[in-house]
């Protein structure tokens, strides 16, 4: 099977036409603002008065900008620790759902519920639940454990947010994995059973290869959502205590709107965009690789 239906010559023009409306939208409402950010990053701009050109001042300051470096680290930690475990949890949960009979529809609706609740209220609810004197610690106390300073300790708060993101994201990706498992043709398993394969070997030789595209989809979506995360941090901790949960989007937001340093905030944004570009290239590579196997 060839990768494309047509060479560049005959039908490529159609391909471009089909892409055009989407590209126009992206160009007007995303690309232009992104390019504008590059422009602003070379200026001192407080939003109240016109921008003033300062060259690469903000870029040169990045290496010694503690708030930025710290935020970068917090963001990377957050993305890694949300993507990897959620991938595992959602995978196993989706697999378990396939083993259920008729009741599956009910379970998957229940498990999907966190994704349909308004984000703002979910974040507020977790803030109350994770209060030092709140219900979660009451539960731990019941099990004989000491209360945890979930949101009031700089060491703990990043983990509290990661745990909440597991709760929120697992719900969504489990459903995607479930769909992936259900789409694996039954005869693959039957053939494997005839060959005497069982347990681990079925997983390795049948399930995992068939699930590869779904895994790729989930990796892309969860990385995206991890990098873009904002509401949980803003509502639950506002980046605190003492800046320990200040992810990059929140730092950019505060630098523009509270500190009115749009030039600096744009510099942070540009770094983020560049990182995004690199990740995108990696993903294209990942997707290409996939098709070769197909």
């Amino acid at each position: 099977m060839t990768r494309t239906a047509s060479g560049p010559s005959r039908y490529g023009r159609w391909g471009f036409l089909f892409c055009l409306p989407a590209l126009l939208f992206i160009a007007i409402f995303q690309l232009y603002p992104v390019l504008f950010s590059y422009f602003i990053s070379l200026h001192e701009y407080d939003l109240l008065s016109p921008p003033r050109y300062v060259g690469f001042k903000y870029y040169l300051g990045l290496a010694s900008d503690k708030a930025f470096l710290r935020s970068l680290g917090i963001t990377i930690t957050y993305v890694v620790y949300t993507v990897v475990p959620v991938l595992g949890i959602a995978f196993w949960l989706g697999w378990s759902l396939t083993k259920l009979g008729r009741s599956r529809g009910v379970w998957r609706t229940l498990i999907f519920l966190p994704s349909v609740m308004p984000l703002v209220s979910v974040a507020l609810t977790w803030k109350l639940l994770l209060n030092v004197q709140g219900p979660v610690n009451d539960g731990l106390g019941f099990l004989g454990m000491a209360p945890v300073s979930w949101l009031t300790s700089s060491a703990m708060a990043p983990w509290a947010l990661i745990l909440v993101s597991w709760w929120h994201a697992t719900s969504y990706y489990t459903i995607i994995f479930l769909a992936g498992f259900l789409a694996i043709p039954r005869d693959h398993y039957e053939a494997a059973a005839l060959d005497g394969a069982r347990g681990w070997s079925v997983l390795r030789h049948i399930t995992l290869p068939s699930m590869k595209p779904t895994i790729a989809l989930v990796v892309v979506l969860s990385t995206v959502n991890g990098l873009k995360t904002f509401a949980f941090q803003q509502i639950m901790t506002d980046g605190g205590p003492a800046g320990s949960t200040q992810i990059l989007t929140l730092l950019i937001y505060k630098t523009s709107f509270s500190f009115l340093q749009m030039g600096k905030a744009s510099t942070y944004s540009v770094v983020l965009f560049t990182g995004i570009l690199v990740i995108s290239l990696l993903q294209i590579w990942l997707l290409r690789d996939r098709h070769r196997h197909a």
């Binding site: 209060n131 030092v132 949101l151 300790s153 605190g240 205590p241 505060k254 509270s258």
Partner: protein, 425 residues
Amino acid sequence: MRKFQSALLSWALAGASTLALAGSATAAELTFWHHTYPPATDFIAKKAAEYTAQHPDVTIKLHEDPHGDYEVKLTAAIAAGNPPDIINVLDYLFPQYASKGILAPVDPAAFGQKSQADLEALYQPSALSGLTIDGKTYGVPEEFNTLALFLNKKHFADIGLDANDPANWPKTWNDVFELSKKLQKKDESGKTTRLGFNWVWNLDPYWYAQQYWPILVQYGCDVIGADGKAAINSPACVQAFTETWQRMITDGTGGPELATVNPVNALQDFSEGRQSMAIAGIWAPPLYSDEVKADYVVAALPQRDVAKPATLLNSYALAVTSGSKNQKEAFEFLRFLTSDSDGYLAATGYVTGLKGWADTDVAKQTRGSAVFAEGQKHGSFVWRSPTWAQEGTAIKNAIEQFAQGVPVQEALDQAAAEIDQIRAN
């Protein structure tokens, strides 16, 4: 069904007004943005209707968003060159806004005065000082606040004290902390069910500043020294934070871990009767739950040295933007609005700062007005800086650090270094 109908109707009306916007605006329509505080926005809407009845060519379009979000939205509107005519601005933002030419200087004539001096004479001493930059006043107070200590009468009665008797009020910070130990209640499991007192936690830098500023003044601590360098790590400041903020945590009577976490309302615990004492302004009581509303007493803000009292002044002020095409009308409406001192106090708990506000019948019926009037005489505004938000954040971070056990000196050293770096740029 009725509610649904009225919702539909309000939607239809809102749609109509959106359409009307597109048409040519006749006479003056003043856009007025305010932070969300229903008693105030209801009061302003009422006054606006009165004003339009008197001046049919002037209409006022009021819009509100929650504090925090409100400032974000306002900044975006200013950046787009399209700010509303009248805005609601916290005093610490005035240096920045005024220096960038966002705000129009107050026209004394619109207030029926001949000169700047006459305008100032309408107000209490220093009421306009926080809004005045280089001799020009850029706004008028909607609230000219100071702080007091609110007490829960029932809780005091529990430990055998009559909170109505000023002799039982805690006078110094030490009194507050000693009393806190007596007022604190725990259940069998050791969980605190009632706090004596607590600072605000987990809120924005200005909330923290409102509470530590009077203490810093009382201890002779300067945030910024005379040389323009950060002085927040000076011995006086370390002592101030150690003996007040830090003390609650070492005593086990307060701190972030004992507070009910809440994103917007600093006074949740006091409001609901889980805390016996709280620092707040005269605007606070409308926020209290009904039980606490019936039971609160207003005491003077505690001091380090009662003979040398110091409190905070702050002002969520009203200003007219320099981009407004209807500045004259806007100032005239502001005069009409803010001159109703009694109306403001009764409806919203705001003190407009006009001379003699505390002498009216309405003020005398307002619990604690005498305490607030006295406090206003000893207050000062927080430090002024064009980079206030960053400096405030550095101090907020220091507080959150020592609340977790980092030595106060070390946390403040870090804040001082950050402030110096901010100022160097």
